[in-house]
């Protein structure tokens, strides 16, 4: 039975490059799919593009291609990435430049457009689309319409399949779904119909398993303490068979592990109803699948099913929603906890004194309850705790107010309890981009594909 080896080269903007290089060199793979985008990323990239029309794609794309293109060309590996972000055109030009700099000739570059509907929103609004918020139930985007900075539909694999059919070696998209870069090669290689729902359901599930790089190979794992060499991160490979089954594995000799537990950990990750894992390409049903260990670092996955794709695509609108100012300072033994409480009272009192317009405030004691919140029991040796870091975050209305929050924390240095120290200049105030998840009819978001050869 025909099979292909597809791998994941990235889970997000800022992921590690070395494991991607390792699997290109030693993984015996035909395809590498990269996910570089998270929910917030599109808004950041959109604003980069507004400032400079040559930017707005994932900057990692350039160093990634510099390392990977020569290997990929030598081995005939094709790469698909959503690093185009908010500017697929400019991303394409950047990759062309890399190819020229490296002396790579004859590279076929595929660009997929269509996810960005920001400029078409007024047109859709005029047609009567209200774009109700899927999270909050608010029925109309009216309240935020003048603050929207990005609008991207999560598009499926159609454009990428077309680009592969036109012999693209590198395919660049914007906000395509995480798994689409893995689905496209399967459909292309096996000649599956994009309406063969059980196959598409399998492709979505297999894509989901590997799309988060080391997420199915010991990253974010409950079995972290079985990892002998933490620094040797490995990215996964799916050896996919024509019938929709797959073996999840990794490059021979690479670090970490792939086993039934690590694959299961990722199958349940960021999935809601497992019978209806809805993606742009179809609906995958994970409830009948089986995992079986078939060798060292090899797990067979079978039994995925699928159903017809939805008539709508997920659309994520990003809108400006105030500013966050945050900062931290440390208090020490003796009486660290009581000192932390003193700092909290100081900050809350000062913000009131300053009449700071606070939309939301949160004060954490790092080392005590900053991660598990009210569910974290106080340590039994509270009197003897060595140190606590006090962290404050305030959502407010302007950059100036956000800066004031940071300034007040520095005052604890000299006006706080004895031994209060270690104010580290925190990141500048950040503007909040809230997300408004909604749906858009599929037919309103056509994809456009351009494939060109780089000379």
């Amino acid at each position: 039975m025909k099979s292909i080896r597809i791998s994941c080269g990235s889970a997000s903007w800022g992921d590690m490059l070395d494991p991607a290089v390792e699997l290109a060199e030693k993984g015996d793979v035909q395809y590498i799919g990269f996910d570089h985008l998270a929910e917030l990323t599109m808004s950041i990239l959109q604003r980069m593009k507004v400032k400079d029309p040559k930017r707005g794609y994932i900057p990692d794309l350039v160093p990634w291609m510099k390392r990977l293109l020569p290997i990929a060309r030598a081995k005939g590996i094709r790469m698909l990435t959503n690093a185009g972000g908010a500017n697929v055109e400019a991303a394409g030009e950047a990759v062309e430049q890399v190819a020229r700099d490296l002396g790579v000739t004859g590279l076929r570059l595929g660009l997929v457009f269509g996810d960005d509907v920001l400029e078409r929103l007024p047109e859709f609004r005029a047609q009567g689309l209200k774009f109700p918020n899927l999270d909050t139930g608010e029925e109309d985007i009216d309240a935020v319409a003048d603050r929207i900075v990005s609008a991207n539909a999560y598009i499926g694999s159609e454009g990428q399949i077309e680009a592969l059919a036109e012999r693209a070696d590198v395919v660049i998209t914007g906000r395509a779904t995480d798994s689409s870069a893995h689905i496209a090669p399967m459909v292309h290689e096996f000649g599956w119909s994009t309406e063969d729902w059980d196959r598409i359901g399998a492709a979505i599930a297999i894509g989901h398993i590997i799309e988060c790089s080391s997420g199915c190979a010991g990253g974010m794992s409950n079995f972290w303490n079985e990892i002998k060499e933490p620094w040797r991160v490995a990215f996964p490979i799916a050896e996919v068979y024509e019938n929709g089954d797959a073996i999840i594995t990794k490059a021979a000799g690479s670090g970490r592990m792939v086993n039934e537990w690590t694959v299961k950990e990722h199958l349940v990750y960021e999935v809601h109803d497992p019978r209806s894992y809805v993606m742009a390409d179809g609906v995958s049903d994970l409830s009948q699948c089986r995992l079986e260990s078939v060798g060292p670092d090899r797990v067979r996955v079978t039994g995925f099913q699928g159903r017809r794709r939805p008539d709508t695509l997920k659309l994520c609108l990003g809108y400006e929603d105030g500013w966050v100012g945050e900062s931290e300072i440390s208090v020490c033994w003796p009486d660290a906890y009581e000192k932390a409480v003193f700092c909290e009272r100081f900050l809350r009192g000062r913000f009131e004194q300053l009449k700071l317009p606070i939309r939301e405030i949160r004060i954490d004691f790092i080392g005590v309850n900053s991660i598990h919140g009210p569910l974290a029991p106080l340590p039994s040796n509270l009197d003897e705790v060595n140190e606590i870091r006090v962290r404050v975050a305030v959502r407010t209305t302007s950059r100036e107010y956000a800066n004031q929050v940071r300034r007040e924390v520095t005052h604890l240095w000299t006006h706080g309890p004895v031994g209060t120290t270690a104010v580290i200049s925190p990141p500048a105030p950040r503007q909040v981009i809230s997300l408004w998840p909604t749906l858009i009819p599929r037919e309103l978001v056509p994809q456009r594909v351009v494939v060109k050869e780089v000379h």
């Binding site: 950990e265 497992p274 405030i361 598990h372 305030v394 909040v432 997300l435």
Partner: protein, 107 residues
């Protein structure tokens, strides 16, 4: 006599986010543990456990094939990763946090 069983003894968990929704996948360590979880780890118990953190409803989905339960929690992340003031912006620590739960089991 009811026994008290820490979830940590019988399950692994991993969590993640989509917008303001956090999901926790709870994986039973053994088939017997899965039966115990199915019987006792209800959506209501999980909802009570996260009181003060999760503001919306909690729904449970059973995955008999993976011996796992999926809990989907609405309005769980202070408005979602891009907006929340929580340090755990992407809900990664909700899994371990759920493992703090103690089940009261008959016999």
């Amino acid at each position: 006599m009811p026994r008290r069983i820490s979830l940590r003894e019988v399950a692994y968990a991993r969590s993640g986010d989509k917008g303001d929704v956090v999901n926790v996948g709870v994986m039973a360590k053994t088939p017997a543990d899965y039966e115990l979880l199915r019987k006792h780890l209800t959506a209501e118990k999980v909802q009570q456990h996260f009181d003060g953190i999760v503001k919306g409803p909690v729904v449970r989905y059973d995955l008999d094939n993976l011996q796992s339960l999926e809990f989907v929690m609405q309005r769980a992340l202070g408005g979602g990763a891009t907006r929340t003031l929580m340090m755990d912006q992407t809900g990664k620590a909700y899994g371990p946090n759920l493992l703090r739960l103690v089940l009261e089991v008959d016999g």
